[in-house]
């Protein structure tokens, strides 16, 4: 799609950004508390949203609570602005708030994301809102909520390393490639939502405010700007961000997170940037990947 | 007479069988007996006279109804077994009182040599010395070396008993209680046990024992105390 900034006329049938003001205040209080205690999961009275759980109801509520009339909103899903989830949420806010939307990372003041952090370095004037399915990093090892809360309270995090140990024992290396647990500001262990571990280093000392919303689980947590976010690891198996053997087939980038795309029924495939905006920007700057020009428009977009 | 190592004073014991309507079975009463270092006091009398019960009371295995059992410890203290705290009693068993029962209580999977060494270690005899002593004793008691590395569970009664004796004699407890140690032994091994007892006596161990064979009894006894005179009359 074209990089663009668009404005829309809001529907007057809804309050600004759908949620009523009382609810927004409640969510803002939770956000403030989350910012005050980096990495701590703050319970909040998650509302029913006009979309199913799993579609980003947590992120949408956080965005709705912080959205102002002058904000410019970008919504991405797996790095892309043009996937169903991203398009739906962007339209939702266009319709209910009328704020300007954009696909340009640099132009956005609020970026709601599912599964990725944009490649372009974020700034102090931006807020990154994550959609979180399961906020509790200890959940798969400890099913009791009462117990995981106590474990957080007491910094009883041996269990987290049990998971990493198990990875190495099974695969010879830490095979967790997404939702890779981190420790925030030396205190709370946090699930960075299902972002690939490739993005973990971007969370550390990030200039932008990072907010996490889990609608079904009714939790909000936050990483304030310039907060330490350390990926857990072992001394003899240090954390390593994912590296790719390929360059982006469209923009030739070698430092970005790549998606594998199947191009035909004969096993044809290509690796392209998952961050569509970043890829398009690079192509606009003249970077050319091996398959640029051959790739279907559906993958390359109109910037090809 | 020198100060006794073991002084039994007016000791009494009976059993109350609650499962048989509270039937009281008196065993022994009014027994008073001093044993000095280097002595071997043999308890005499027919079976059922309470000889084993006396040994078990001295070892703290049976409780007493009345009286005292004063034991001089290596540290110069005197402890009354009849009233000693369990922890104190366990200490006495480690440091002061040795006991050779009629049968070896078999511990699964532990080899014979280790069973014997363990008794020395509990007394505080170190690794090499303990093993040397264990080997010497097992050899002396004619336990074939091929059996040493095997758990005694499968041994014959006589072999088990000789392991048991080695276990009882390996440490240097000042007091040694012997409950028919020679019962299931042949003449050759009985002679070996007699020799061990003589050595203990020479080294100043106070021994209280029960022996059924007259010849062993005659050879080791410093004196024989007939416990029949202390036996309670049946109620």
């Amino acid at each position: 799609m074209n990089a663009m900034i668009s404005t829309a006329t809001p529907s007057t049938a809804y309050n600004f950004a759908y949620l009523d003001e009382q609810t927004k205040r409640m969510i803002r209080r939770a956000i403030l508390k989350a910012i005050a205690i980096p990495g701590y999961q703050v319970p909040f009275a998650s509302r029913e949203m006009p979309m199913p759980y799993g579609w980003g109801t947590g992120g949408v509520q956080v965005t709705a609570a912080i959205l102002g009339a002058n904000d410019r909103l970008k919504v991405i899903d797996q790095g892309a602005d043009d996937t169903t989830n991203a398009v739906s949420i962007r339209k939702f806010f266009e319709k209910t708030s009328g704020v300007a939307t954009t696909t340009l990372t640099a132009d956005a003041t609020i970026i709601q994301t599912r599964h990725r952090i944009p490649e372009k370095e974020l700034t102090e004037t931006q807020v990154l809102v994550y959609q979180v399915p399961i906020p509790e990093p200890l959940r798969f090892l400890e099913p009791r909520e009462t117990e995981t809360r106590v474990m957080h309270a007491l910094e009883d995090y041996g269990l987290m390393h049990v998971k990493l140990y198990e990875d190495i024992a099974t695969h010879g290396h830490i095979a967790t490639t997404y939702a890779y647990p981190v420790k925030v500001e030396g205190r709370y262990v946090m699930d960075p939502s299902p972002t690939p571990k490739f993005d973990n280093p971007k969370m550390d000392d990030c200039a932008a405010l990072q907010l996490f919303g889990a609608g079904r689980e009714k939790r909000i947590y936050a990483v304030p700007p310039h907060t330490s976010v350390v990926s857990l690891d072992f001394e003899d198996h240090p954390f390593e961000a994912t590296k790719f053997d390929h360059a982006c087939a469209l923009c030739a980038a070698t430092h970005t997170y790549l998606d594998e795309v199947i191009t035909d029924d004969a096993g044809g495939r290509m690796f392209v940037c998952s961050d569509t905006d970043h890829c398009e920007e690079r192509r606009a700057e003249g970077h050319r990947g091996d398959l640029l020009g051959e790739a279907p428009a559906a993958i390359a977009g109109s910037a090809a | 007479m020198i100060r006794p190592v073991l002084a039994i004073d007016n000791l009494a014991k009976s059993f109350t069988m609650h499962l048989q309507g509270g039937l009281a079975i008196p065993v022994i009463e009014g027994i008073t007996l001093d044993v000095a270092a280097g002595e071997c006091v043999v308890l005499g009398g027919p079976s059922g006279a309470g000889k084993s019960s006396i040994l078990k009371m001295i070892y703290g295995n049976y409780r007493t109804d009345a009286g005292a059992i004063r034991v001089a410890t290596g540290e110069g203290e005197t402890v009354d077994v009849a009233t000693a705290e369990p922890r104190r009693m366990l200490g006495l068993r480690r440091s002061t009182i040795g006991y050779v029962s009629q049968f070896l209580r078999v511990i699964p999977r532990v080899p014979a040599l280790a069973v014997v060494i363990e008794a020395a270690s509990a007394f505080g005899i170190g690794g090499d010395e303990a093993e040397a002593r264990a080997r010497r004793l097992l050899t002396l008691l004619n336990v074939p070396e091929r059996l040493w590395s095997l758990p005694p569970a499968t041994f014959s009664g006589g072999e088990q008993q000789r392991v048991n004796i080695a276990r009882g004699f390996i440490a240097d407890h000042p007091i040694l209680l012997l409950d028919e140690p020679t019962a299931s032994l042949d003449a050759k091994n009985r002679a070996a046990v007699v020799e061990l007892i003589e050595t203990k006596k020479r080294n100043g161990t106070a021994i209280v024992g029960i022996f059924h064979d007259d010849d062993v009894r005659e050879r080791v006894a410093t004196r024989i105390v007939d416990v029949t005179r202390f036996a309670s009359r049946a109620a």
Binding site: G158, F234 | N61, M89
Partner: protein, 258 residues
């Protein structure tokens, strides 16, 4: 042996509403001592074990524990953080059902390594080496280190649970019917193993069991419970060979002599 007891129970009492759990239990346990608590189901022995290990709050009395710094503390006044720290360092708890004491969803190595990671071990290789050492100590083939306990037999699970508890060199281990539910031959092996470990490591232990053979083989002292009270205590062999109370005599006479 130091002069101060490791654990002291003073008139420990627990009522569930008006129903008695246990009443006026008092004893001292010293380092290296093994105490067996025997009695039939419902006699209050499991309640007592929970009280002693701070998992249940007594209605009366108190439990004192001498910490590693030699300071004796009332375990009820410990913070939750201190209590948990105690439980993953200085204490062990062996459950009758190994599934309660193990993480069934992770490998044996992770089960053993968890306590090490909880106290700050962060070197995978060293954690794994230590886990292997402990698996061998409890007679589990080290090649099974990456198997989950679900693939283990009942006896192996119980041995794994013991390894998981002992890896941080605790001074006191609570055991709740550690051989319950196992085949007789498996029990014998486990008992012998525990006996050896307790002696080698100089562990103090409180073993709740209804099996007098377990008490005889493992413990120095015994406490017989009936209807929530300690009716008879003493040296294990003394209580078993010369039981005084009617109930103890009944218990002793009702076991089969092998």
């Amino acid at each position: 042996m130091t002069g101060q007891p490791l654990l002291t129970a003073e008139s420990v009492t627990k009522f569930y509403g008006s129903r008695l759990g246990c009443r006026d239990i008092g004893f001292e346990l010293y380092a290296g001592e093994v105490l067996a608590v025997v009695g039939e189901s419902g006699s209050g022995k499991s309640t007592l074990l929970k009280l002693l290990s701070g998992q249940l709050e007594p209605s009366g009395g108190r439990v004192l524990y001498r910490m590693r710094d030699d300071v004796t503390r009332d375990i009820l006044t410990l913070t939750e953080a201190e209590r948990r720290f105690l439980f993953r360092t200085d204490w062990g708890f062996v459950h009758q059902h190994a599934e309660l004491g193990l993480r069934m969803g992770v490998s044996a190595g992770a089960n053993v390594g968890e306590r090490l990671m909880a106290v700050g071990w962060r070197h995978y290789g060293r954690i794994r080496d230590e886990a292997e050492t402990w698996l061998e100590r409890v007679e589990i083939d080290a090649t099974r280190i990456d198997d989950r306990p679900t693939a283990y037999s009942g006896g192996m699970r119980q041995r794994l649970q013991i390894a998981r508890n002992l890896v941080t060199s605790p001074r006191l281990v609570f055991m709740d019917e550690p051989t319950g539910g196992l085949d007789v031959s498996v029990q014998a092996r486990l008992l012998d193993l525990m006996r050896g470990l307790v002696a080698d490591l100089g562990l103090a232990a409180i073993v709740v069991t209804h099996d007098l053979a377990v008490a005889r083989l493992l413990s120095h002292r015994i406490l017989v419970m009936k209807d929530g009270r300690a009716i008879e205590t003493g040296l294990t062999d003394q209580v078993l060979d010369d039981p005084r109370e009617p109930y103890t005599q009944l218990l002793v006479s009702s076991i089969l002599q092998p």
